[in-house]
Amino acid sequence: MAAVVSCVNRLLAHIFVLLVVLMDVNGNRVKHKIYEDIQGDMACFKRFNGTQEIGCTSKFSGNIGVVHVVESKEDLVWVYQRGPHQPYVLAITPRFLTSEVLKEAQNSGKVSGVVVMVEENKLDLPGGFSGETHCPNHELGLYNDSSQSEYSGYCWKEPWNPNGTSLLYMSWSFPIFLIDNETSINNIRDYYKTFNEPGTDGEPRSWPLCCMELKSNMFGTTNTEVCMRRRTIATSVFQPVNFCDPLSDYNIWGSVKPMNSSEVTPEKSVIIVAARMDAATMFDNISPGANSAISGMVTLLAAAGALYNLKDDIMKSEVEKNVLFVLYQGETWGYIGSSRMVWNMEKGDFPFKHQEDETDQISQMNLTHIDSFIELAQVGQGMTPVGSHLFLHTDPISNVDPEIGNETDTLLNLLEKYANSSGNVKFERANGDAPLPPASFQSFLKRVNISGVVITDHRDEFKNSYYESIFDDYRNVKYTSENESQETDMYHKHISRVAGVLASALYTRLTGNSKVIKADEKLTDDLLYCYMKNFSCQMFRDYGDRLPRDLFSDKPAKMYVSVKGGEGSRTTLTHLVFAKLLGEKVELNETKCKTESLNQVHQLYYFASLNNGTCVMSTVRKTEAMSPAFLIKDYNWQSGEYSTWTESGWQLTKAMIFLKPSVAEEVGLVCGGIASLLLSLALVYFMNSRADLLFGLTTPPAPC
């Protein structure tokens, strides 16, 4: 026997070699030969507010469609008019990511999904594209239609965001995936070419065609009221299903002077310097918000750092003023962070309820303590060849009050003074008869009349033509650094200049004497780089050395305000950086460097990898930024008083590409199977029943 084996083997030796070469060693399951996974982590998902649902969802089992790559209008036409193999999954380039195209797709009923292929290298940007409406946050703003102010209609006449497509606020019946992974995109293109691409004369190909399954089934439906109710029911009955969760994160804020509850805070003593720290897109896992969020945020951080370097003379000055630096969260979705702060101040438990027993605790603060309000909105595109050119917006309504008007004036003058003195910064007053652009300041003005200014890079309409879109990234603000601190880059210089001016103005307000302050350019550049290009930059890894490694991706920071327990990595890191900038080093070792409670005036932070172990004492802390709507008992969801935005929950989002056979083939196969079964049944039955005759009784096989 062995001989035979060996000879056979020798015989087939070369075939073996051939096969061993041919056969793929990994994943032998036939599955892997059938399906090819496509990047599926950037799906468009559903959000809800009191009245509507927005975003996309797939069916429970996913949507399947024949892949059709759309390079030009003709391809779309082909799909709608000639394409016989519906439904289709359109693979479009960003140029086609417009509400018209999507609407047409939805109405045609021939489209079961859309894939947006964003290629880094050959990126064809649409002229202007913003997912937002023409008037971002109009409904929850100060000048909303229900308000009696004469400015309520202003935005509709002169939209702040003319590029707004409101794509973000539309609801689609099919899933939309964003793909920026090279290999995935190439796969799609290649398989499309090999199997699906129509002939020259638009002749459709025949089965088997390459299809795509997009799976992003959203749990929630209808609106916040419904999905929150269902969530509570599900939780009360059996294990919870997260039909939807309220958008929530944390406001991060700190004061230059410590606010101790032991000494009373005088009225109108606190200058709030605010910026918002969140942006949004319709897709998961991508929300760069370079201009809409990061520009203002970094300016604020830089200004805070610059100002705090002079804390000694600030502390010893007699002027009873204080500066509160605040980074607001979730402003994109109806001023969540600012409205929450205002709500708490009104209830008198901002930052925390007053504890009787504790001696060392931060003092209460309410609206009357606010002196004035300086907000840094989008300042990224105020860069001119010679320097920086920004605009100061004020609220015409509150300025009617002469006292407020004067305060505002002085504030503006101060800012302009330092702008001029700095030489290459120009602060220009925006049209005094125009309302404020979208800004957190509005949440305060809804409740209280205070002087304030919103600093932006635009006079009338946004300079930022990609407001709240995936293209609002470093390119949009012309940021050029390839790694930390490059001198050639102009953008970080611009930001630092603005920060410097702001810092000087604040210094004057705090101390009464004037001084020109320069912000640390290295710092701004690092921050900009970390936020806009590489979240796992050296600076962040140093500050966040205690955070789990997987929080750091080498992509831009995701600026989307997520839900509780969502991705809060950028919040945490911003918090730490902020604390370091607005804090002083104290000599405590790691074990000592801990804070008992959030109420304490000073919080302690330990940075193990900053010059081998630094303990920082700072007033910076975070308070929850979740819309009051979810805290007020039986709040009326339709009353557009507070933001009611929630995010749907989902299991997973995945996309894969595969080949689908023709129906005829399948039917044939089944018939064949049945035939084989029946035939064999008949045959065996026959042989059984006639066994005696078939196997003649002559030789009954003797037992072995």
């Binding site: 096969l19 056969m23 032998n28 036939v30 030969k33 059996f238």
Partner: protein
């Protein structure tokens, strides 16, 4: 599932008498004919047995051995003699069973096989007889496994981890295999401790004759299983397919399902239905295990339990032994309901009642000399004809009963109170496979299938069936109580690991290259 078709209940006794009186050969013939009738339906009385029993009462002696008498013990023999006497007298009083016996005897005469084939044929007939019972065990076991595997591979709930049993405090979080195994071992030992404790409690209860407690307990547990676990199962099924359902419908369905289950298990119901319920319960139970035991712990538990099983049954002072002894000296069945199907039991009871009725109203016919105790003798021997007593089977039951008892939740223990109260003297008979065995077999196969590789699943399935086969064969050879788990589970484990580690890479390579062997 006592595979005891009524006819061989009669014939076996007849057989016994024969063997007592006339010796082996005739008795063997009796068996031939008993399966001749067992083999082919026509005989009305065989019908229920033939189709009913999903599983088997493998009547060991009848199946594989030729000597009944020795291990029937003196008392048995004595009774037989009485019976022989009594039977002879009472034959004319044409009550149903004697008549039946008569007919069977006739058939036996008529079907006397031709001379020289006799040996071979008897051989194979015996074999066949045993094989039948083995198959009758295969079917329900496979069904139970099928339910589990289907559920596991279609509903994710039972495979995703997170919540664990109270009995397994160590959750195998760490990455290193070593720690996991260590955790698993500790979990398994804890579980084993619980099992031992419960067994001892049960022994005590049993010794103290607190049947009420035991049965109340069993009733409770079956209630829990039938209602709550069914609800959970239903919920997960619906959730798996994302189907909405309202409370009204659900409550009606569950109420009906549960009550019907209780009725058919604890009271009278169609045998098929009852078997279906028992299978369902077993699979629910094993699904719970698959869900709530950490991965390595599950394998470890399987191993530990089957070892412990071995010890407890075979060691001279094993808890089972004690239970068996008491059961035997009391000469009473051990919670018949713990067994896959004990409906025969109820049926016997009914027959017993018939007998009693008959006897009572036939009292006058009984020769005056005896009076009451004569009547008792009558009753007793009638019973004996009805259900000859086999130590083995009683013990097997015990083994399986014990198997059942190891469930931490003790949910699969179903019993029949009136069965106990009506007749203490009713002995259990036939090899019964405990629900416990069902559960553990299904756990193994279900767990294997939860990794989505069907080769492994099939391998485990076959390995377990073979193990079962071997167990039964050994039962026939050694004629002593044998634990039903060890062989099967060992095979199962061996084949699970070997297949998933060695075979699957190979076969998948072959399959994807389309190479056939």
């Amino acid at each position: 599932m006592d595979g005891h078709v009524n006819i061989d209940r009669d014939d076996k006794v007849v057989a016994v008498e024969d063997s007592v009186n006339k010796g082996v050969k005739k008795k063997r013939r009796s068996q031939n004919q008993e399966d001749a009738s067992g083999g082919q339906p026509p005989t009305q009385s065989i019908q229920p047995g033939a189709q009913n029993d999903g599983g088997v009462a493998l009547d060991t002696n009848a199946a594989f051995s030729n000597d009944h008498v020795q291990e029937n013990g003196p008392q048995g023999v004595v009774r037989r003699h009485q019976r022989g006497g009594g039977g002879a007298e009472q034959e004319p009083a044409g009550s149903a069973p004697p008549a039946r016996r008569g007919t069977t005897q006739e058939t036996r005469q008529s079907r006397h096989p031709p001379g020289e084939w006799e040996e071979v044929e008897e051989e194979e007939e015996e074999l066949k007889y045993g094989a039948q019972h083995v198959i009758k065990l295969f079917i329900p076991v496979s069904l139970c496994m099928l339910v589990v595997v289907a559920t596991v591979s279609s509903v994710t709930f039972y495979t995703e981890k997170g919540t664990y049993l109270l009995y397994t405090p160590f959750h195998e979080e760490s990455q290193s295999i070593g720690d996991k195994v260590y955790d698993a071992l500790r979990n398994a030992l804890i579980l084993l401790g619980v099992v031992v404790a419960l067994t001892i409690v049960l022994i005590i209860l049993y010794k103290k004759r607190c049947y009420k407690i035991i049965h109340g307990w069993l009733l409770m547990s079956s209630l829990l299983l039938l209602f709550i676990f069914t609800i959970i199962y239903m919920m997960e099924l619906l959730r798996g397919y994302n189907l909405g359902m309202d409370w009204i419908t659900v409550s009606i369905c569950v109420w009906n399902f549960g009550v019907m289950g209780m009725v058919s298990i604890h009271w009278h119901g169609p045998l098929r239905l009852q078997q279906a319920y028992l299978i369902f319960i077993a699979s629910l139970m094993s699904l719970m295990f698959i869900k709530y035991l950490p991965e390595y712990t599950l394998w470890m538990v399987l191993a530990v339990i089957s070892i412990w099983d071995l010890v407890a049954v075979l060691s001279p002072k094993g808890p089972l032994r004690i239970l068996v002894e008491t059961a035997q000296e009391r000469n009473e069945p051990i919670f018949p309901a713990l067994i896959y199907s004990y409906t025969r039991m109820t049926q016997m009871l009914l027959e017993m009642e018939q007998w009693r009725a008959k006897l009572v109203h036939r009292e006058k016919e009984i020769p005056q000399g005896g009076g009451m105790q004569k009547m008792d003798m009558w009753l007793e021997m009638e019973m004996l004809r009805l259900i000859p007593f086999h130590k083995n089977n009683a013990r097997i039951c015990l083994v399986n009963y014990y198997q059942l008892n190891i469930q931490p939740l003790k949910l699969d223990e179903i019993t029949k109170i009136d069965a106990m109260e009506k007749d203490k003297i009713l002995p259990e008979r036939g090899v019964k496979l405990g629900l416990g065995d069902f559960i553990f077999y299904s756990v193994l196969v279900g767990k294997a299938s939860s990794y989505g590789d069907w080769n492994t699943t099939i391998a485990c399935f076959i390995a377990i069936l073979i193990g079962l086969c071997l167990t039964l064969i050994m039962l026939a050879i050694f004629k002593k109580a044998l634990p039903a788990l060890p062989i099967s589970i060992t095979f199962g484990l061996i084949f699970y690991f070997s297949t998933s580690l060695l075979v699957v890479p190979f076969t998948e390579q072959l399959a994807s290259e389309q190479v056939y062997i």
